[in-house]
């Protein structure tokens, strides 16, 4: 029998998550998977221990030859049970599932059992969400950042972190405490107060309606979370350890981030922490800033050739066109098994991209390097220029040169960097609006969403902005443009947009989904 190792599903790696665009597992499982990964990120991004581990992870990425990755992995070993208990429980509760083992996911049964032990097996989901969040946060709110802030990096050792400051140990203290009895008492009280409300009673298949987290019910939910956080903290203190307040770690986190930045003078890349996106609480750590989607349609092999050796154009007859992609070389190296000539050692390169077929099947992706827009002036086929947002950040001069050479009707910006952060920045300018629409796209059995739009200001229009995402990401975007004050006033939906841009989108999307191996707002990372 061949090895059977799990490859589908999602993976969280401190800065964001990766999902495999699946073929047939169903939208319900897609949603559960991505919600699970999102909650890992939320816990890391809002707590003291998570702040430390993501800072160390950023150092590990910036300095791969030093021992940061060992430290990061050791810190993860100290917090992985809390992370899984939180992500398993919260993803079940918020996707309208019972707190019960998930069919087909035996590796998570024991975490389900721990969640049931921690908050009670039959607890109403509205109370269970608050209780689980409070418990996991209290476990992660140890004084670990204070230790990291005081100690030099040279002397910082995970083994020096006291056992009662490690989240997994704190979870055991909480499991052995009276916390679950407190939760059950609160459950009785909440049922008395809210039991008559529609949002408490839920409806068929939806035990936790969205209305239970909105308006006054949302305010009650936040109050309940705060009160259960106090209860979890009291239980931990009774067991002999301390708990940092919910926002009490920010000062130390800033100190630790500054210390980490000193180690990386060229800049420490760490997206999503509160201190880096002030005023954007809704957006920080969101799906459109952290998501990597692995696609399976594109060939693994790619060939790089110099300009003039082959045409590099795509399509036949009236569909003949050139698709010029501006991308960072490291993304090409990370995505494909490359053949042909070496890619120039530059921040970004421009290349005509097309697919080489072998009969009916895609054999490889062809990249024909183009050093100057003038090269394509004589080309009789229309040229579509598509800029990866990470390339625009890496080489603004190159991108500016190509922008000037191309009509905006044939120019697109594909977001492979944090999209909602960028969108918020663009929309902050007075008079700016973002005209947008979202569509479902099915590519070779993979179900994805594409958010498109153009930024408008004073009669001027930007290139077509494309944000490839999932159903989870599209729902996140809907919430963000409704609830974030900056986006709510600047973003408007125009259902005609896809029809208007259909010619352009046909070209860009077919190249994007059949030739890219990874897409999404976190896919700029190697």
């Amino acid at each position: 029998m061949d090895d059977v190792r799990p490859i589908a599903g999602g993976q969280y790696q401190w800065f964001g998550w990766t999902v495999h665009a699946n073929r047939g597992l169903g939208i319900s499982i897609d949603r559960l998977t991505e919600t699970h990964e999102y909650f890992h990120r939320q816990l890391d991004d809002t707590t003291a221990f998570g702040g430390l581990i993501t800072t160390i992870a950023a150092l590990a990425q910036a300095r791969p030859n030093e021992n940061w990755s060992e430290i990061r992995d050791r810190l993860q070993d100290m917090s992985d049970v809390v992370q899984e208990v939180f992500a398993v429980g919260m993803s079940l509760l918020t996707t309208q599932r019972p707190l019960a083992p998930i069919d087909g996911y035996p590796m998570y049964d024991r975490y389900v059992a721990l969640v049931r032990h921690l908050v009670g097996p039959q607890t109403h989901p509205w109370v269970a969400v608050a209780a689980l969040r409070a418990a996991a946060t209290a476990c992660m709110q140890s004084s670990v950042l204070a230790y990291a802030a005081e100690e030099t990096w040279e002397n910082f050792l995970p083994t020096h972190i006291a056992l009662d400051q490690r989240p997994n140990h704190r979870l055991v203290l909480l499991l052995n405490s009276d916390f679950v009895r407190v939760v059950q008492a609160v459950l009785v009280e909440m049922e008395c107060v809210h039991g008559h409300e529609d949002w408490w009673r839920g409806f068929e298949g939806v035990p936790l309606p969205p209305s239970s987290m909105e308006g006054s019910a949302g305010d009650f939910a936040q109050d309940l979370y705060l009160s259960l956080f106090d209860a979890a903290s009291a239980s931990l203190r009774q067991a002999g350890t301390n708990v940092v307040g919910i926002d009490g770690h920010f000062h130390e986190l800033i100190v630790v981030l500054e210390k980490a930045a000193e180690k990386v003078p060229e800049g420490l890349v760490r997206i999503g922490a509160v201190v880096e996106t002030p005023g954007a609480e809704l957006l920080q750590n969101g799906a459109l800033d952290s998501q990597t989607i692995r696609l399976s349609a594109a060939p693994k092999r790619a060939t790089v050739l110099p300009y003039g050796s082959v045409s590099g154009l795509s399509g036949v007859g009236s569909n003949r066109h050139g698709f010029l992609s501006i991308v960072r070389p490291e993304k090409l190296r990370a995505s494909y098994e490359l053949e042909g000539i070496s890619i120039p050692d530059a921040p970004a390169v421009a290349c005509l991209r097309s697919t080489i077929f072998s009969g009916e099947s895609r054999d490889s992706v062809l990249f024909v390097l183009v050093d100057n827009p003038n090269r394509l002036e004589a080309c009789e086929a229309p040229i579509f220029v598509s800029i990866a947002s990470s390339a625009a950040a890496a080489d603004p001069e190159l991108v500016s040169m190509w922008r000037q050479s191309c009509d905006s009707s044939h120019l697109s910006l594909v977001m492979d960097t944090p999209a909602s952060v960028a969108l918020r920045r663009w929309c902050s300018s007075v008079g700016t609006r973002f005209r947008t629409a979202t569509e479902s796209v099915t590519v070779e059995g993979m179900n994805l969403r594409i958010i498109v739009g153009r930024i408008e200001n004073g009669g001027k229009e930007s290139e077509l902005v494309l944000i490839p995402t999932t159903e989870f990401g599209a729902r996140w975007f809907e919430t963000a443009i409704r609830e974030d004050t900056v986006l709510a006033s600047a973003v408007y939906t125009d259902d005609e947009l896809f029809q208007e841009e259909s010619g352009h989108l046909d070209v860009v999307l077919s190249h994007l989904f059949s030739e890219e191996r990874v897409v999404g707002s976190g896919s700029w990372r190697p």
Partner: protein, 192 residues
Amino acid sequence: MTDFEPDLVQLSFGSVEALWEAWAPEGDDVLAHAAYERTMRWAIGLEEEGLYFRPGGWTINLPSTLVRIACASAILAAGFQIAGLDDLGREIIITAAGLTSAMDLRPVQLTRDDRLLVESMRKWALEDLRITAKEVREILPRRLRKQATREQVADALDRLVAAGIADRAGSDEYILRAAGSEAWIRISLGRV
């Protein structure tokens, strides 16, 4: 095709969980279970960066030696966790498990004639003296001497060495230990 075909066995998530169920202390220990699973995954090469959410379990074909070491490592890691040794490196745990898996700890079975041999040697007060198999054969009672060749006496002395009753002293010499000072445990490294 190579000359050396490893002896492959199938290890699955289910069998790893069954081993935990068989071994686990009563009442399950959250930290020990986590240490067990983490170490198992690391030892068999399933560990990846970060955390993940994936359907199904896993099944993997591995050389039997590696499976023995992985299982021993995982149980050792859980045991160390229970003992409060939280910060032992995985490399140390796996090295310890590798040594344990390489040790042959089968009890040595002495025959009645082996015991008669010990009695005869002690009767002649040969304890703590270097003596060859040929010399030992000479002091045997006539009945035993007739039955045993020099090679068979050497084999019997080797069993006494394995049992901790005697020691080797060079290629063909042995030293019988005094009564009461036999080795408590004798470890021999076998091929793994």
